[in-house]
């Protein structure tokens, strides 16, 4: 983040302005990615008129950075009408798409409308791997064609690589492909639970060894020694820090008008079909509660050596059951990065050992107990 952007964010925070909004236009999609956290059925998306009105409200509330995403945004026939309206209201716009429906005509319009960037997910440079993840044959070829079309227009393209068990070995290949296509490469090593709380897709997360390898790749993290340095623990200043921008200068709006602190933080905070966006932003008790939480209020994280440097996601903590609690996936990342267990992992390890020792005594008594033992062991192990 540049100094100027940091200054603007600080000012927005002080003035309570939602500088950054992620708006999903639809959850419908032409791909069926194995790790997707969404329900792709349409449960009553906002109409064109409702979205245009919302965009007007968001502009008046001070939103500057607008991420338009889905689902696949181009599944909406009114996509360009919405994008045109958003540009008339002078948002800085980032689009997230798989690019499959971007032909020449669409690339021309995106260029004409002046979006800031287009982000396209590429899971592997190997067609069989990418297409197995999206479950759409030919999808890698089509996404790459879209990237070429957009780049030919000079549009800034971000190639996002989500790391999971299926493609753990391919990120270097994707990075090389991004360089070849003159696109920016970013990587996310975290598979998140589904928005309805279903955690079954977490089994797709890469293991600790793969994370460790990623975090020691200089091409990805820069200065490895600095990136993997042992944590110092939070000082007094750090204890008063806000956890992240969710609910502070950023929020998320679903295709149904639901407002959440973030796309990864599904805490219902209001609905723009029933209330004005700005009233939800300013007065929602849920957003006020999120804003009130500092590191000092987190029983485990405030005592953790990683407290000040952890990438802790409050949304993932919420999905684990407590927005003031730890996010175990981030604890695991901190451990893979530094080799030092978080407070959360230490207590889980201790309770796991405690369960195991008890189970030795009762093992074999009845099958139901053995099933329970397997569940506990699996859920308690780091990087499960």
């Amino acid at each position: 983040m540049s100094a100027l952007v940091a200054e603007m964010v600080a000012k927005a925070l002080k003035l309570n302005i939602p500088l950054n909004v992620h708006l999903d236009l639809t959850y419908r999609c032409n791909e069926r990615c194995v790790h997707c956290y969404l329900d792709h059925n349409d449960h009553g998306e906002m109409t064109t008129g409702e979205i245009k009105d919302l965009l007007d409200q968001m502009a008046d509330a001070g939103v500057f950075y607008l991420t338009i995403s889905g689902g696949e945004i181009m599944m909406r026939r009114d996509f360009f009408e919405i994008l045109e309206h958003a540009r008339k209201r002078t948002f800085s716009i980032k689009l997230k798409t798989n690019g499959i429906l971007i032909r020449k005509k669409e690339a021309d319009r995106i260029k004409d409308l002046g979006v800031e960037s287009v982000q396209i997910s590429i899971y592997s440079h190997v067609p069989e791997v990418h297409d197995a993840i999206t479950k759409l044959p030919g999808s890698l070829r089509q996404s790459i064609e879209a990237i070429r079309r957009l780049r030919a227009h000079g549009i800034h393209v971000i190639m996002a690589n989500v790391l999971m068990v299926h493609n753990a070995a391919d990120y270097s290949g994707v990075r090389a492909l991004a360089a070849e296509l003159d696109a920016q490469f970013i990587m996310d090593p975290t598979i998140t639970p589904m928005m309805d709380g279903d955690r079954s897709i977490l089994k797709l997360n890469v293991d600790e060894a793969a994370l460790r390898e990623v975090f020691r790749n200089e091409a990805l993290v820069g200065n490895v020694e600095e990136f993997c340095a042992p944590p110092q623990g939070p000082d007094e200043e750090a204890l008063d820090m806000m956890p992240c921008s969710a609910g502070h200068t950023a929020c998320y709006v679903s295709p149904y008008g639901d407002v959440y602190p973030c796309v990864q933080f599904p805490l219902p905070s209001g609905n723009v079909r029933h209330m004005k966006f700005v009233d939800i932003w300013r007065d929602s008790p849920q957003l006020k509660e999120v804003r009130s939480i500092t590191l000092r209020d987190m029983p485990s994280c405030s005592k953790c050596a990683h407290g000040a440097t952890c990438t802790r996601c409050p949304g993932l903590a919420f999905l684990e059951g407590n927005m003031r609690g730890p996010s175990s996936q981030d604890c695991e990342k901190s451990y893979a990065r530094t080799g030092i267990l978080s407070e959360n992992l230490k207590s889980r390890k201790a309770s796991s050992q405690s369960f195991r020792s008890q189970l030795v005594q009762i093992q074999g008594l009845q099958p139901a107990v053995r099933d329970f033992a397997e569940v506990v062991t699996e859920n308690s192990a780091p990087n499960a």
Partner: protein
């Protein structure tokens, strides 16, 4: 006498008011600029139809203790710099505006 007295905001920009300042981003270069309070007054007033001199007299000099000569000199420098970055358009004649003009509220 200003060579190109008519000024309009480019449509290839992202912009938003933030308190008494304005953030402006060039859509082509993704470069971010911030305009201070006085520059924001000028930014909000340019409409392609009102000459810069009139904007300075009616909006700037009416609000701030500054002589019209100095204010106009500063305003000319500002709009020329912003035009060089593609954020403003300058013309000898009035500049037609799109049906929905970019608003930078609040």
């Amino acid at each position: 006498m200003i060579e190109k007295p008519y000024v309009a905001r480019s449509t290839a920009i992202a912009a938003r008011g933030l308190g008494d300042e304005t953030m402006v981003m060039s859509a082509t270069s993704s470069t971010l600029f911030t305009l201070d309070e006085v520059a924001t007054v000028i930014w909000n007033a340019v409409d392609g139809a009102t000459p810069l001199e009139e904007i300075v007299t009616k909006r700037v000099c009416a609000q701030y203790e500054i002589t019209p000569e100095v204010a106009l000199q500063d305003a000319e420098l500002l709009v020329e710099q912003l035009a060089q970055h593609g954020l403003l358009l300058l013309s000898e004649k009035p500049i037609p505006q799109p049906s929905i003009s970019p608003k930078v509220s609040p």
